[in-house]
């Protein structure tokens, strides 16, 4: 149980911002993921939460090498996954499968369920004769709670929840060790959400799976995960077991996030104190200096916050936080103060240190 299955070391994904038509000049980078370290143990569920644009999906995709990371590596079951190439990489991919957010757009509308499920088996040489394959397909459908008559049907014939079950069956087909689920339930209605969450928990027990669940809904993540990592603007700000994180959030951002989530109970809602964050998420193309959160942090201090980027440090066993003042905030030594919202530049969000020279489009190039 405590054996490490996945270890991500200093993962960075920077997307270049290109300008120009004839010569692609890179004028800046979107720092989607900017130095993340994390470890996932075999058999556990690791939850990655954060708001849109914090880089959680990009991190998940970079781990699977669906986007090539700019720097850093991922070690999977003792092997350096980032260094694998060609056939070796393809073979390794069998062991890491993904479940996507939108089940309709991640299933080919022109493929029957049978063909969707069999495709992976064939690609990895697991299709050993008609009889054994048919047996395997029936097993899979039973495991995810679909009738065997589903094999001949097409994705549009199913409801949202059932489609997500097909997506899960496709991931399960190859007997993976790790399943990366990117927002697996956010497209579903609440009553159906719970069905899929329970199914994932049951399958984990049954097949000894390891999950990386990426979601924006902290309540879902808390429910399903053993450990949770909170991301803000490309970096992890806090990591703890899901109970500790809820009982004792240490990072100001986690506190604000937890206090912002509505609880379906008026008694709790009336008593709760909200920490309202000022303003919006800064652009990842031009992230704030020092601590990424300092522009919105109600506990911001005069020193360190805007100059030094805090590293993730272990404050208590198993509870890591990236904040210079976590102890003082925890003990109540530092009091929150009001924050004025700072204007967030939308649009291309180019960093000001890169001068814009040369044509930006064909028309500009032709009519200087």
């Amino acid at each position: 149980m405590s054996e490490t299955l996945v270890s991500v070391q200093d993962m960075k994904v920077h997307f270049p911002i290109k300008r120009g038509v004839f010569m692609d000049r890179t004028v800046g980078y979107v720092y989607a993921v900017d130095g993340v370290d994390l470890e996932i143990k075999r058999g556990e569920t690791y939850g990655l939460v954060g708001e849109s644009g914090c880089g959680k999906s990009t991190l998940g995709r970079a781990m699977l090498r669906l986007n090539e990371p700019t720097a850093g590596k991922m070690v999977f079951d003792g092997q350096d996954f980032s260094a694998l190439k060609g056939e070796e990489l393809r073979k390794m991919r069998r062991r890491i499968q993904m479940v996507f957010q939108d089940p309709l757009s991640s299933l080919d509308p022109r493929q029957s369920v049978e063909s969707i499920l069999i495709e992976g088996l064939r690609a990895h040489g697991l299709d050993k004769g008609k009889e054994s394959t048919n047996k395997r397909l029936r097993e899979l459908l039973t495991a995810v709670g679909l009738p065997t008559t589903a094999l001949r049907k097409y994705p549009h014939e199913f409801s949202g929840g059932q489609r997500q079950r097909i997506g899960i069956a496709r991931a399960l087909a190859l007997e993976p060790d790790l399943i990366v689920a990117d927002e697996p339930v956010s497209a579903l209605d609440v009553s159906v959400q719970a069905q899929v969450v329970n199914l994932m928990e049951q399958l984990q027990e049954q097949f000894g799976l390891t999950y990386l669940v990426i979601a924006h809904d902290l309540a879902v993540v808390k429910h399903i995960s053993d450990r949770v990592g909170v991301m803000y603007l490309g970096g992890l700000v806090e990591e703890a077991s899901s109970e500790d994180l809820y009982a004792e959030p240490l990072h100001p951002y986690t506190r604000a996030l937890l206090s912002a989530i509505p609880v379906p109970d008026p008694v709790v809602e009336d008593r709760r104190e909200r920490i309202l964050l000022a303003g919006d998420l800064p652009s990842p193309a031009n992230p704030p200096s020092g601590c990424r959160f300092h522009t919105r942090c109600p506990w911001r201090q005069e020193t360190k916050c805007d100059t030094d980027r805090p590293v993730l440090r272990e404050l208590k066993p198993g509870h890591k936080v990236a904040c210079h003042w976590a102890e003082q905030i925890q003990s109540g030594e530092i009091k929150p103060h009001e924050v004025k919202p700072i204007l967030v530049e939308e649009g291309d969000g180019l960093s000001p240190d890169v001068p814009l020279v040369g044509p930006a489009s064909v028309t500009e190039a032709l009519n200087p």
């Binding site: 995810v144 009553s191 329970n198 808390k222 609880v263 379906p264 809602e269 309202l276 998420l281």
Partner: protein, 332 residues
């Protein structure tokens, strides 16, 4: 008399060659000034269609709206298009779910805010601009002078929603209908917008109809809650009794299928079995019966009537007894 009285509102969509579809089926509720009434339900339960019907925004062809919507003594459904246009924007405000698609992408924010002021309050452009600046200020948009000149794509999601609220509030409407105003936003931004709406209701005495699928939002904001299922209100109660003791099996099921942030570790979720596709028509009994753990034989034979039970309106033959745990584990 209440500010808005909706009685027996029914919307039937009719397409040629197809069975008529009753999207909203006899919905009734009242809204008092300064009160917040919630309409909750999952996708397809008719909550958005209800709001569109009240605002008179449904197409004339294909959609038949019956019942009465009495606002301040006048039946909105009987007004002509022109009379309705005078009401919308001035007395009735609406905030939509997706701010990017409800703002005009090629017109600056300032013009879109002043448009309402010029049309309904007869202000000149210059005066309207000053008023628009105050409005943006009030909804918490920093640097409003600059923002007025910008286009919707230059604003973030939260800003756009604030601009939309500013437009809806421009003429200080007595009634505001918010259709999933925070669904497209992140939780921290959602908290900002919800606290803004709460303030507005308290300060201006606006009546608010809040349409949402998020029971958490309802718990913190609404005085009265209407739970919709299949186009009918199945349970109507004040928020405290509703959340403390949900009596309709659907409300009960919804509440036990949401993972709660303050739940004990290891607590299991109890989903509602099946999906809305399993519904039976209300004419044949209770639409929820095929998914209901409490279903009796009578549920698929007789349509349950809306009855006053224990201080709340309930549409159920076999309500949940308070204190019972969630229904048995549904096999996956």
């Amino acid at each position: 008399m209440a500010l808005l009285e909706v009685r027996d509102l029914t919307v039937v969509f009719q397409r040629r060659g197809e069975e008529p579809f009753r999207a909203v089926d006899g919905v009734s509720f009242d809204v008092e000034p300064g009160q917040t009434v919630g309409l909750v339900g999952e996708s397809g339960c008719g909550k958005s269609v209800t709001s569109l019907a009240i605002m008179g925004l449904l197409p004339k062809r294909g959609a038949t709206v019956t019942g009465t919507v009495t606002y301040d003594g006048t039946d909105l459904l009987k007004l002509s298009d022109k009379q309705m246009r005078d009401k919308r924007g001035s007395e009735l405000g609406m905030v939509f779910q997706d701010p990017l698609s409800s703002l005009n992408p090629v017109i600056p924010i300032g013009i879109q805010v002043t448009e309402v002021l010029e049309r309904h309050r007869g202000l000149a452009r210059k005066e309207a601009m000053i008023e628009a600046k105050n409005l943006l200020d009030k909804v918490g948009i920093p640097d409003p002078n600059r923002r007025l000149k910008e286009y919707p794509h230059q604003l973030s999601g939260g800003m756009r929603q604030r601009a939309l609220i500013a437009i809806a509030l421009a003429c200080r409407p007595k009634l505001l209908i918010a259709d999933e105003p925070t669904t497209a936003l992140d939780v921290t931004i959602q908290a900002q917008i919800l606290s803004l709406m709460k303030e507005l209701v308290q300060d201006l005495g606006t009546a608010l109809v809040m349409i949402t699928h998020d029971l958490g939002v309802v718990a913190g904001l609404c005085d009265e809650v209407n739970v919709l299922y299949g186009g009918k209100v199945v349970e109507k109660a004040n928020r405290h009794p509703l959340f403390a003791e949900p009596r309709h099996p659907y409300t009960h099921g919804l509440l036990s299928s949401i993972p709660r942030l303050d739940a004990a570790p290891g607590e299991k979720l109890t989903p509602i079995k099946g999906s809305v596709a399993d519904n039976i028509p209300w004419a044949q009994g209770c639409a929820f019966a095929p998914r209901c753990p409490n279903a009796l034989d009578v549920c698929v034979q007789v349509t349950p009537a809306e009855e006053d039970q224990l201080g709340r309106l309930l549409r159920c033959h076999n309500p949940v007894v308070p204190g019972t745990p969630a229904a048995e584990e549904v096999p996956v």
